[in-house]
């Protein structure tokens, strides 16, 4: 039923990605093996990530849950290529991103990041922001890229706002445009770092629905960092609970709620059951993190 629903959706909306992958995963299997990261900002070694391993299948929505400042963002930065790792390796579809002899991954459009505080260029309109990637990668000419951007913004319900600057639209719209800016590059993996953190619960629920709809259409692999347990279970295929600093995998929980999911899934017995399970795993770590009182590292 799950597959059937998503396929009809794809045919119905003529999504740009549909022609490429027909709703099937187009790669994006992330493998994180024994990754460690040691910082020394003040001459003292701080271990942010310690021997962390996880497997993320292509087309999977993988939610990373853990206490504040535990090193989740460090992991994301390593995958995106913003920071180096100290040991271990990360591969994408079998290709080495970073590992022995190559501490820092090259930044590339196959892994797109959506940032915690939003990073749409405030000096470009929404449509210019979306068209930016294809233009600088020389994949499309400027008019082509702009046309495609208008089209993709319209699909995301932002058709009338393409010529607005990010400062003129709501934070929810800006965040949605940022996801569109990522998706136009047809990434294998979408890396989201607490993208809905600063939003109120109502806006958040709208953002969740829109992300789920996007996922059903594109089946892109999603690596999603969050604090919000409800969000983690509602969106994810798997919830990886990580320990407090140094960050390593504590427990993986398979979310068995069928897709497509609606807000009715939130009140199901299964959901409450999963919530209790995740809560139990996270709470212990949260207490430890709180007692350690550590500040977040960049």
């Amino acid at each position: 039923m799950n597959e059937f629903m998503s396929k009809t959706k794809v045919n119905g909306t003529a999504a740009p990605h549909a022609q490429i992958n027909n709703g099937a995963p187009m790669g994006g299997a992330l493998s994180i093996k024994h990754v460690s990261k040691i910082y020394d900002p003040e001459g003292v070694n701080v271990c942010a990530v310690d021997d962390c391993s996880m497997e993320i299948a292509a087309g999977e929505v993988c939610m990373i849950v853990g206490p504040s400042g535990c090193g989740k963002t460090t992991l994301l930065n390593a995958i995106a290529g913003f920071h180096s790792i100290t040991s271990g390796e990360i591969t994408l579809d079998g290709d080495l991103l970073c590992g022995p002899g190559k501490p820092k991954a090259a930044q590339g459009a196959d892994r797109m990041v959506v940032f915690q505080n939003g990073a749409l260029f405030p000096w470009k309109t929404l449509v210019e922001n979306v068209a930016y990637g294809p233009i600088v990668q020389r994949r499309m000419s400027k008019p082509e890229a702009l046309e495609k951007s208008y089209q993709m913004l319209a699909e995301a319900g932002l058709g009338d706002f393409g010529d607005k600057y990010p400062g003129e639209v709501s934070s929810g719209m800006a965040r949605r445009a940022e996801i569109v800016r990522a998706l136009i590059n047809e990434p294998k993996v979408l890396l989201l770092d607490e993208p809905y953190r600063a939003m109120d619960a109502l806006t958040k629920s709208i953002m969740h629905e829109s992300l789920l709809e996007t996922y059903d259409r594109t089946k892109v692999t999603i690596f999603f960092i969050t604090h919000d347990l409800e969000e983690a279970i509602f969106l994810g295929d798997k919830v990886h609970v990580v320990t407090t600093r140094p960050c390593s995998l504590k427990k993986t929980i398979d979310v068995t709620i069928p897709r497509p999911r609606t807000y009715e899934s939130l009140s199901s017995e299964n959901f409450r059951h999963l919530m209790a399970e995740v809560n139990e795993a996270v709470h212990e770590e949260a207490v430890k993190a709180f007692q350690a009182g550590e500040r977040e590292l960049a």
């Binding site: 290529g81 913003f82 590339g108 990073a119 405030p122 600088v136 319900g157 009338d160 400062g167 800016r181």
Partner: protein, 298 residues
């Protein structure tokens, strides 16, 4: 979901779309401002200060103020076709002084901006460039512009060279420093986002560094044109054969006080006018910034 993705149904959005822009907006703001007490208070304030000035010099003829030309004496000479002390808005000499000073400012400001902005951009962007240039800039910056006068006269022949050099030097420091701070103020996530989207270094420079620094650059340029004016006047007082600074000090030497005050008032207005131009150019280039500020109620 539907109500969010089809905003064209809601009225406020439509009204926002047809809101006046450009000149119409300017006219609208001008019109509405007369409904508030602000313009009347401004005019009232000006007359109040003029009255105090008149009272001190001409009304009460206070000791030590009686040698200073009052507002009536200045206005009488300034608007007379046959000025008693030689300078009025009907004499060609008056406009020659303004023209000479403006020409010097134009050259100095263009030079300072042309050197300072690129230098500041590279200093902010590249640590290497900053390491090479910052210490020397910081050492030269606190030296008062008057201390450069002897050197300037030795280095450059004639009247124009030293004066332009001094005005350029003063505003160069302001422009460079503000531009550098502007680049450093850009949020790291914009650089990361641009990297993710596949930008080359040149793309990042064009699309992140330059527009991101622009608000600081224009704040710097507004200060720098002010600095250019007062270092120009200082320079004209020491070395010059024309210009508003020369007019002021020459009148003082020849014991004619009215042209001195006329020169000061003119300087104030011309200086103000030039900053307005700089501000207007800035606002025109930074629509995104202006709109974001306007939405915050500023």
């Amino acid at each position: 979901m539907t109500s969010v993705s089809s905003p064209e149904n809601s009225d406020p959005v439509k009204r926002q779309m047809t809101a006046p822009t450009g000149l119409a907006l300017l006219w609208y703001r001008f019109k509405t401002s007369f409904a508030t007490p602000r313009p009347y208070m401004m005019v009232g304030g000006i007359f109040l200060w003029l009255f105090v000035y008149w009272l001190l010099c001409e009304g009460l003829r206070l000791d030590r103020f009686d040698k200073i030309p009052g507002p009536l004496a200045v206005a009488k000479d300034m608007f007379s076709p046959t000025p008693f002390q030689g300078i009025s808005i009907f004499t060609g000499e008056y406009y020659n002084h303004i023209f000479v000073s403006c020409r010097r400012i134009l050259i100095a400001f263009t030079l300072a901006t042309g050197i300072g902005v690129p230098l500041g951009l590279f200093m902010g962007w590249s640590k290497k460039v900053r390491d090479y240039t910052f210490p020397i800039l910081e050492t030269l910056r606190p030296i008062p512009i008057l201390a450069w006068v002897p050197l300037a006269i030795l280095m450059f022949p004639g009247f124009e060279g030293p004066v332009i050099f001094l005005a350029t030097l003063a505003s160069l420091f302001v422009t460079t420093l503000n531009t550098m701070l502007g680049v450093q103020s850009i949020d790291e996530s914009y650089f990361r986002a641009a990297g993710c989207l596949g930008s080359s270094n040149w793309d990042i420079f064009k699309n992140v560094v330059v527009p991101g620094a622009l608000p600081y650059v224009f704040t710097g340029l507004q200060i720098s044109i002010g600095v250019a004016w007062f270092s120009l006047v200082a320079a004209e007082m020491v070395s010059g054969d024309h210009g508003l600074g020369y007019l002021i000090v020459d009148s003082y030497m020849n014991n004619v006080t009215v042209p001195m005050v006329i020169g000061m008032i003119t300087l104030g207005f011309v200086g103000w006018f030039t900053s307005v131009i700089v501000r207007m150019v800035g606002n025109w280039l930074m629509q995104w910034h202006v709109k974001a500020l306007a939405l915050q109620g500023r």
